[in-house]
Amino acid sequence: MKAVHVYLASFRGRTAAVAVYLWASGLLFSLPAYLGFSRLISFTLDGSQLLEMSDQYGSFTVWLELFSHAETGFRVLLFQLGALVLVYAIFSLFLSGGVYGVFVSGDSPRLGRFLTHAWKNLLAFAKLFLTCWLLWIPLMAISVLGFVLLAGFLRESGNETLFRWLLPVWGGVTLIMIGYTMAVYDFARIRRLQEAGSTWKSFRSGMKFVYRHIPRLIVLFFFFLVPFLLTFALSSAFERIAEPLPRIVTFAGLQALIWMRCFFKNALMHAETLLAREYPLHASPELDAERETDTI
């Protein structure tokens, strides 16, 4: 029950504190979207009652009018936000340095310590990030190729029944590959902090770790995914009931949901470090073998 144990052990105040940093940085990066859309829409409407008319027009028609009326504005804004997404992808390297730094070292989760770890780990994590493309590119190729073959099969045979079976299989395999690569990336970073070896060595020991602990990791990922996906159901339900609430309440409610997502993601990362600590790299093979027989 190691996976369950570490997962429960990850629900700590420090996990929640680090989740606040994650949430805050996400919000910071999203502010241009909130403000940009707000300005663009109110500029486009310029006093028009279009949105108030959505019962008569239909919501699809309202959005269509809005987008087609300010097509250029929306294009420019979406382009800018796309660039922002790229910047955030790099910034998330920095953030993950802080998260894993705090969890692996057992250091205080105060902002100062978090930022120190993040800065200290940035270069090493960036190298690992680049190295992991060695894994991502072939697996992505396999997934894409699989889909192309599947589509070709459907076109040639017209066998929709089999296609309907094979499509979830393809989806499942792709999901497993995504889970696998995510886990390798995570444990390579953890090993890098635990052992301070070279990039290549960390990458390989990350792969090795994932390979040895597949059942435990499946359990761990499952525990992460269930509440994480639940927040999506919650947010769509909340958006439906939020209509009459003041905007600030809606906004706060949605932010709380985002923070919950950050918390679950952090709990997973925390649990991963605890698991890695249970099975250190330099443990003797005998000990390793003995632990293998342990239940997951």
Binding site: F37, S38, Q49, L51, M53, L64, E65, N159, E160, E239
Partner: protein
């Protein structure tokens, strides 16, 4: 009924009878179907399908009656199948010119065609050698879709001619309506079909164009198809006989009166399902035959229920469906080119089994194609020259039936929070028309395939929707009922349509058709400005001013003026000036102005400028921005690794 009483000396009994007849008629307004047409053509075709060769051999005896006052010295025939003869046919050339062509289709395209091996006049001379290919629309010498045959002895007015054909088809891989895919065959536009001889002594016999559909005279069809026993066959009309032949083939014979085309399909895999549908105004039920891809078993009810619903709707609103059978064909996905097409008493639907059920594609296609039974099949407008009378009117009815079928739920798409009504889906293509053209023009004159469909389907349907708002639903439906009954079997033109509409509307609507059907007018009504000034001599009241402008086009519209104290003022804006200033003094200043508050004018191109608030609130725009911003924040959250 009216005619019978006219000119009679009206006795007391006559008055009484007339009264009862009128009363009965008003109760069962649409009960009796209009009388059928005088047949002009009679086809007897004997065809043998050779699936392994992808070919067909047939003999055809055609009896044609000259319905005009002018002798016919020549005959013209469509050989539609030659559209697939090669890349130089007008059909293929026009498809190539279209912007949105699919490369896959080009690759998969296998050519086909029709050859007339023998042609003779029964009781007359051999005509095979006299066949000449002509291209009346574009002079394309490579196009072989129309032939002309000079006659030694003309066909006198009212006289008939009988011709015997022997012809052969090479069947193409299906990508546009007709052809085959593996051992699935859909045969449309497959036999030599005579054109329409017009009152001025000319032939209406156009080439097969990429964007145009069809037009023909009504008549009788009797078609025998011989093919291997394992094939399940569906066709226009009613089955007459099935005869097992000594060579292991079966001859299926179908016949139908009062139709203007004949299509059939054959596939060993078909699941054949039948249901009897009780239809208002008919004493016998209609047999609904569903030929289903066995992989689509779970779509069975979606097909049956939507086609029966559409049949009852049209029977109730227009007149009872006059045939005894409707065949619904569900083509396999590989033969998607056959999906969504109408033929007399036979339609093809479309089902894609891995699409979620919230996408109502299957219902939409089935309802649309059934609607054609009236506009294409029975009223039978000219799809070459005035396609909107069929596709536009039918798309409008598709929306009406879809809304009724799905009640208050979003009728086209209801999936993952995305909700679209069928009627909403038309304004998208309408807004993206690159060049505005008249809706009412020959189909092959349009700039592109998408311009054709955005005009003929969407713009025309949105125009009729707008007429519905203007005249009211009841009056518009009353018009369609009268129009359909008056012109059933008669091939009405746009001119007839307008005349009939004017009569029911009690006003001349030429101004609307001139702009939006025969012209290139766009409609955009807008609130230009509004202001409220406190009166100098009476500080307790305000001088309110609203300025409305017609940016493009003319259409009368309701204007709703809201005052800040909650009072509402209505104004009917109908004078044709480009602008209109509304001024009034009131104790309350203006709150907002909305043109067309009930959204009766979907033809209005731009809805953003249809309303204006005196003091705009940012509440709704912030709410919308909140949705989009949250979407972005969620996306970012997913990216963190």
């Amino acid at each position: 009924m009216k005619k019978a009483f006219k000119g009679n000396r009206i006795s007391a009994l006559g008055v009484l009878l007339a009264f009862f007849a009128a009363a009965a008629q008003s109760v069962m307004a649409n009960a009796d179907p209009p009388p059928g047409p005088e047949p002009i053509v009679e086809y007897a075709i004997d065809a043998r399908l050779l699936p392994a060769n992808r070919s067909l051999e047939a003999t055809q005896v055609l009896t044609w009656r000259n319905p005009t006052q002018i002798a016919a010295k020549t005959l013209r025939f469509h050989l539609y199948y030659n559209a697939f003869r090669g890349p130089e046919s007008t059909f293929m050339r026009e498809r190539g010119l279209q912007r949105f062509k699919s490369r896959r289709q080009d690759k998969a395209r296998r050519y086909g065609g029709i050859d007339i091996l023998e042609l003779s006049r029964i009781g007359g001379n051999e005509l095979t050698e006299k066949i000449a290919f002509i291209a009346p629309d574009d002079q394309n010498e490579k196009d072989r879709t129309v032939i002309e045959i000079p006659l030694d002895i003309p066909v006198a007015p009212g006289e008939s001619i009988r011709l015997r054909f022997r012809f052969q088809l090479k069947i193409p891989e299906i990508f546009a309506r007709t052809g085959c895919w593996k051992n699935f065959f859909f045969m449309g536009q497959w036999f030599p079909k005579i054109g329409v001889f017009q009152d001025d002594g000319t032939w209406h016999c156009h080439q097969f164009h990429a964007n145009s559909e069809f037009f023909a005279d009504f008549g009788r069809y009797r078609v025998a198809v011989t093919l291997p026993a394992e094939y399940v066959v569906g066709a226009t009309g009613n089955p007459v006989s099935n005869i097992n032949n000594a060579d292991g083939t079966v001859t299926h014979t179908f016949a139908q009166d009062r139709v203007h085309d004949f299509a059939w399909t054959a596939w060993p895999e078909f699941l054949q399902l039948r249901r009897q549908a009780v239809v208002p105004g008919r004493d016998r039920p209609v047999e609904v035959v569903l030929l289903l891809d066995p992989q689509h078993e779970n779509a069975r009810e979606r097909y049956f229920q939507s086609v029966i619903f559409a049949m009852r709707f049209m029977s109730e609103k227009l007149f009872p469906y006059p045939y005894d059978r409707i065949t619904v064909v569900d083509p396999p996905l590989g033969a998607a080119g056959a999906m969504g097409m109408e033929y007399p008493t036979l339609i093809t639907g479309g089902h894609i089994s891995f699409l979620p059920e919230g996408i109502h594609f299957t219902e939409m296609v089935t309802i649309h194609e059934f609607g054609h039974q009236y506009w294409y099949g029975l009223v039978a407008s000219d799809e070459f020259r005035e396609a909107w009378l069929d596709e536009g009117v039918n798309t409008f009815f598709e929306g009406e039936i879809m809304e009724a079928y799905f009640k208050k739920a979003p009728s086209l798409l209801d999936w993952f929070g995305i909700r679209i009504r069928d009627t909403e889906s038309r304004r998208g293509p309408l807004k993206r028309i690159p060049v505005l053209e008249p809706v009412n023009q020959p189909s092959w004159h349009f700039l592109s395939g998408s311009n054709y469909s955005s005009h003929v389907y969407n713009r025309a349907a949105v125009f009729i929707d707008t007429l519905k708002g203007y005249l009211g639903k009841e009056k518009l439906y009353d018009f369609f009922a009268r129009y359909a009954r008056q012109y059933a079997w008669k091939h009405p033109s746009t001119h007839d349509f307008i005349a009939a509409l004017n009569e029911v509307a009690g006003q001349d609507l030429a101004w609307a058709f001139k702009q939006f059907i025969n012209g290139t007018g766009r409609l955009d009504l807008a609130v230009h400005s509004l202001s409220s000034q406190r009166m100098e001599n009476d500080p307790a009241s305000y001088r309110n001013e609203v300025l409305l402008v017609r940016r493009e086009g003319f259409f009368p519209a309701d204007v709703l003026i809201r005052l800040r104290n909650g009072r509402e003022v209505r104004h009917l804006w109908k004078d044709p000036g480009r602008w209109k200033r509304l001024e009034f003094t009131h104790e309350s200043p203006l709150h907002s102005v909305v043109i067309d508050p009930e959204f009766r004018i979907p033809l209005d191109h731009d809805l953003v400028n249809n309303s204006m608030a005196a003091q705009p609130s940012r509440k709704e725009s912030q709410r919308a921005a909140l949705k989009l911003g949250f979407l972005f924040q969620t996306l970012l959250g997913m990216l963190f690794m």
